[in-house]
């Protein structure tokens, strides 16, 4: 995916059937409430999954999804169609989720460790089974803030480190180190 800067992801089925995203966006902008519901049906699954992973909690993700679609509703008038509506929604959702995570982190006064590049890893025992998606989802939810966002944006959503750094407001090298740290932690968790 990421060479074009477009996030990966699938499109959920929609009642709107063959209506294109662009047409749906235009109908939403014209005040068509049914089109707005269709837009939700089409994109909610992907954005909810994104919110679950970035926030690390399905309960929080429900609130985030509500906030995301309220923002969509408020900002649709400014959508110019320069990008696909799915891309626009995805960016808006990421920003909304990251704002929440930053705010939560500030409240909790958590400091995310940076990767000590000079340290060497401690190999864990090789796993004998392939990673199950559900296990990975649970492990992602247990990652510390910072690691989790970087990992989700890079390895799940498919953004490159430069873009992850821009979205998170960190250095590109920090993105690399946080993603790597996240992978190491996930590996350890999955081996438990």
């Amino acid at each position: 995916m990421t060479s074009s800067g477009q996030p990966r992801g699938s499109t959920a089925p929609s009642k709107s059937g063959t209506v294109s995203d662009a047409e749906l966006a235009a109908r939403c902008q014209a005040g068509d409430a049914e089109a707005f519901a269709d837009l939700y049906r089409r994109h909610a699954g992907r954005l909810f999954a994104l919110a679950c992973r970035l926030a690390g909690s399905a309960d929080v993700a429900e609130d985030l999804l509500q906030e995301i679609f309220l923002q969509v509703h408020r900002k649709l008038g400014s959508f110019k169609g320069d990008a696909a509506i799915g891309t626009w929604l995805h960016r808006l959702a990421i920003n909304c989720c990251l704002d929440f995570v930053r705010s939560r982190r500030a409240k909790e006064r958590k400091v995310t460790q940076t990767l000590d590049d000079a340290s060497s890893f401690v190999p864990t025992a090789p796993r004998e089974t392939l990673i199950a998606r559900i296990d990975l989802e649970r492990a992602i939810a247990r990652l510390p803030d910072g690691y989790r966002e970087a990992f989700v944006l890079h390895d799940v959503e498919g953004f490159d480190h430069k873009e992850v750094a821009r979205l998170m407001g960190i250095a590109e090298g920090t993105s690399k180190s946080q993603v790597f740290k996240a992978r190491l932690k996930l590996r350890a968790m999955l081996a438990e």
Binding site: A30, G31, A33, L65
Partner: protein, 263 residues
């Protein structure tokens, strides 16, 4: 000696130079611990990239729907009035508790802004018709094979549809601009009227050119461009009225400056 974390990370991501990669590759092949780590990390990346969407509980949509209904500028507002219904009236938006402390101007403003958004949407629709349809000869064809070769009739129909969308936006914006003209000082109103006259003249000339050469792509584009210019000018006019109402001097000055430059 094991490679550093940074080197292993870049090896897994495939971002090392060929020489560096070969060096790490040799180590990984010889070192069971590193090989195990690399295999696991690659597997993690592979599975992470295949994680799926998750359907939210139905209650979430209910909450969103309810919250949207409470929004001051709701998408559930009436659709754009049809051109055949010149009944555009300054109906105030639905008032809820949060509206109680607003001044009359503030109550009116969201509706005006909604109209600006709606006009932009109509403009978008017109642009989509031109861009996604088979309006221009040689453009990418839509899905069915029967549509691959645009006929003169189909081009004419597409143009008429695009024109209809522009006229719809123009009609609504003109009604606002006319109704609210009193908010403008005479000099500004004269400048706007002059600019509108220039655009209207350009529309007339473009129509004439298109009548003379119905198949001319530049003539077709010229007509659409002049419609677009009129929508843009009217949008600026309504935006100017809003800025004046809000007492935003900087915004007012910027729009006036652009209008005087003929932007």
């Amino acid at each position: 000696m094991h490679p550093s974390n940074s080197e292993l990370n870049e090896y897994v991501e495939g971002s090392l130079s060929p020489i560096e990669r070969q060096t790490i590759q040799q180590h990984v092949e010889a070192c069971a611990a590193c090989r195990s780590l690399v295999v696991d990390l690659q597997e993690l990346r592979r599975v992470a990239a295949t994680l799926e969407a998750r359907e939210p509980p139905p209650a979430v949509w209910s909450r969103i729907e309810a919250a949207v209904q409470r929004e001051p500028s709701s998408l559930a507002r009436p659709r754009l009035p049809e051109p055949s219904r010149p009944t555009f009236a300054r109906q105030p938006p639905a008032v809820d508790a949060s509206d109680e402390n607003r001044s009359p101007n503030e109550t009116y403003r969201p509706y005006t802004l909604w109209w600006l958004s709606a006009a932009a949407a109509v403009l978008l629709a017109a642009v989509l018709i031109v861009r996604t349809g088979y309006f221009w000869p040689g453009r990418a064809a839509p899905s069915t094979a029967a549509d691959e070769t645009p006929t003169a009739q189909s081009i004419e129909a597409e143009l008429a549809l695009a024109e209809q969308h522009y006229q719809k936006a123009i009609s609504g914006l003109e009604q606002i601009a006319t109704a609210e003209k009193g908010a403008l000082d005479p000099g500004t109103a004269a400048t706007l009227q002059k600019n509108l006259s220039v655009v209207d003249q350009a529309i007339s000339e473009s129509r004439a050119a298109l009548r003379a050469q119905p198949d001319s792509e530049p003539a077709q584009q010229s007509l659409l461009d002049t419609f677009k210019a009129k929508v843009s000018l009217l949008q600026d006019t309504v935006a100017l009225i809003n800025e004046l109402r809000n007492g935003n001097e900087a915004g007012t000055a910027q729009i006036l400056s652009d209008l005087k430059k003929g932007k």
